[in-house]
């Protein structure tokens, strides 16, 4: 899309990029909250969920946003006020930074880094800082426990995430996310290219490890020790109310959406359908209408992955902190390392 509007001056392009970024983050967040949190969770619990606000409760999110915005802004007396106020912003900023590197179409992208994967993994760790300082600065023993647990958990699960992605990078031969999408859609498996080469099939274990790591990075059950509702009331978010809590809340679901987008780019073929369906051979061949359909396809794949994340969230109890750590260090990381080894060997051999 940026290439189409090449005549627009630079400040216009930047404005469009900012608006596009907001839409790319907040629209999936809102949809995820409504479809999965309000409706799917309710249906799994034999009830209907919010039905009053708008038709079938579709305006419930706006009602909730309005409710939170009009609440009093409370900063606890003994809390470190400056850091307390900074924490939610850091968490949300990392989501926005993450979405700029996700490609939505052959020319619909915000930035086209050669080291897109490296950048994405680095930037997704910023939210750990936000959660940790939220826990410490709240002057609340429960928040402290939640923050410390979060620090340990999130750092532990960064490693399986990175290692799982390494397999994809080895297969694609590049860290550029756009090129990874193209590689999946132009590739072929054993000579059959009817469905391209989605890495979910050849990197199946990598996919599973990545999904588990995402579940932990988002502190969703079964890895929601930092927020453990029945013990820590709300973990690191306990002392936040009103607008700041809204940022945490939206941030949680926005990050879920963006991570699902990254997963669909890495494993499911991103914005594209296999190029052989339309007879394209490289990214320059792709028709212009793909710039509009690409985001829709990306959205669908993202919703599918978020469905899996949320389904697991609503069905399982939570792991204890030490069990969680043991699972990461003794379970996931060795499997991920073996995955990389096998991928590298097979890539060289074949």
């Amino acid at each position: 899309m940026i290439a189409l509007l090449a005549e627009v001056p630079y400040w216009g392009q930047s404005l469009l990029r900012v608006l596009g970024g907001l839409v790319a983050v907040l629209l999936p967040a809102g949809t995820i909250v409504y479809v999965f949190l309000f409706k799917m969770m309710s249906f799994m619990q034999s009830r209907l969920g919010p039905m009053e606000a708008g038709p079938y409760g579709s305006m419930q999110l706006f009602a909730e946003v309005g409710k939170w915005l009009q609440k009093e802004d409370i900063v606890p007396d003994r809390a470190d006020a400056r850091i307390f106020k900074m924490a939610p912003v850091i968490v949300l900023v990392s989501t926005f930074l993450l979405v700029v590197v996700v490609p939505f179409g052959p020319e619909a992208w915000f930035t086209d880094f050669e080291t897109g994967v490296f950048y994405a993994l680095a930037v997704s760790s910023i939210s750990v800082l936000g959660i940790l300082i939220a826990g410490w600065s709240s002057a609340n023993k429960y928040s402290l426990l939640g923050g410390l647990r979060a620090a340990g958990q999130l750092i532990a699960y960064e490693l399986p995430m990175v290692l799982a992605v390494m397999g994809v990078v080895i297969q694609a031969g590049t860290m550029n996310l756009q090129k990874i999408v193209v590689a999946q859609n132009t590739g072929s498996m054993f000579g059959i290219d009817a469905i391209g080469h989605p890495y979910v099939i050849s990197q199946f274990f990598g996919f599973i490890i990545f999904m588990i790591a995402i579940q932990a990075e988002l502190t969703q059950a079964p890895f929601d020790m930092p927020i453990a509702e029945s013990e820590l009331v709300s973990g690191y978010m306990t002392e936040y109310s009103g607008f700041r809590f809204l940022i945490f809340f939206i941030g949680e679901f926005a990050t879920a959406g963006v991570f699902a987008m990254i997963a669909s780019v890495l494993f499911l073929g991103g914005w594209g359908v296999p190029f052989t369906w339309f007879g394209w051979t490289s990214v320059d061949d792709v028709a212009n209408w793909m710039n509009f359909v690409g985001p829709l396809i990306m959205f669908t794949k993202m919703m599918l992955l978020v469905f899996i994340i949320m389904w697991i969230r609503f069905s399982y109890p939570r792991l204890r902190e030490d069990q969680l750590q043991r699972f990461a260090w003794k379970g996931l990381i060795p499997v991920a390392l073996i995955n990389i080894m096998v991928t590298a060997i097979l890539k060289v051999v074949f």
């Binding site: 799994m44 619990q45 034999s46 209907l48």
Partner: protein
Amino acid sequence: MAKVPGLVKGLGVTLGTLFKTTVNGSNTVQYPHEKETPPIRSRGVIALHQDNCTSCMLCSRSCPDWCIYIEAHKELAPPRREGGKPRQVNLLDRFDIDYALCMYCGICVEVCPFDALFWSPEYEYSEPNISDLLHDKSKLSEWMETVPEAPELEAGADKKKK
């Protein structure tokens, strides 16, 4: 058949409930658009049949919360037959039940020897002002219209009711 790991079975239960709710509807009732009818014996509100009440004060004394307030005076009513003596009757001045205190235990309805108090399954009488929860005798008499017939008893019960 190989044992399905418990993790997968759990996912199956939630997915099954998801489909069942989508197809069959939920188990919840969308109050206030739809309302459930409570069973006949449900203890919703107490209704007063004023004509039967002789202000014997039994209900007021047996209430665990002492939430029934009765005041009455005696009067001479005309005799039932020609040439008889005038009878003394008790007339109610005040019969209030304070539903802010009432425990809905039913002891008052049970001990009344003259069948002046009845249970009714009505439950939608909440008020924004707590003093409006004190129902006086006219309001209690209005509830009489909602009192249902006693249900039939199960097979094997003694025909003579207690």
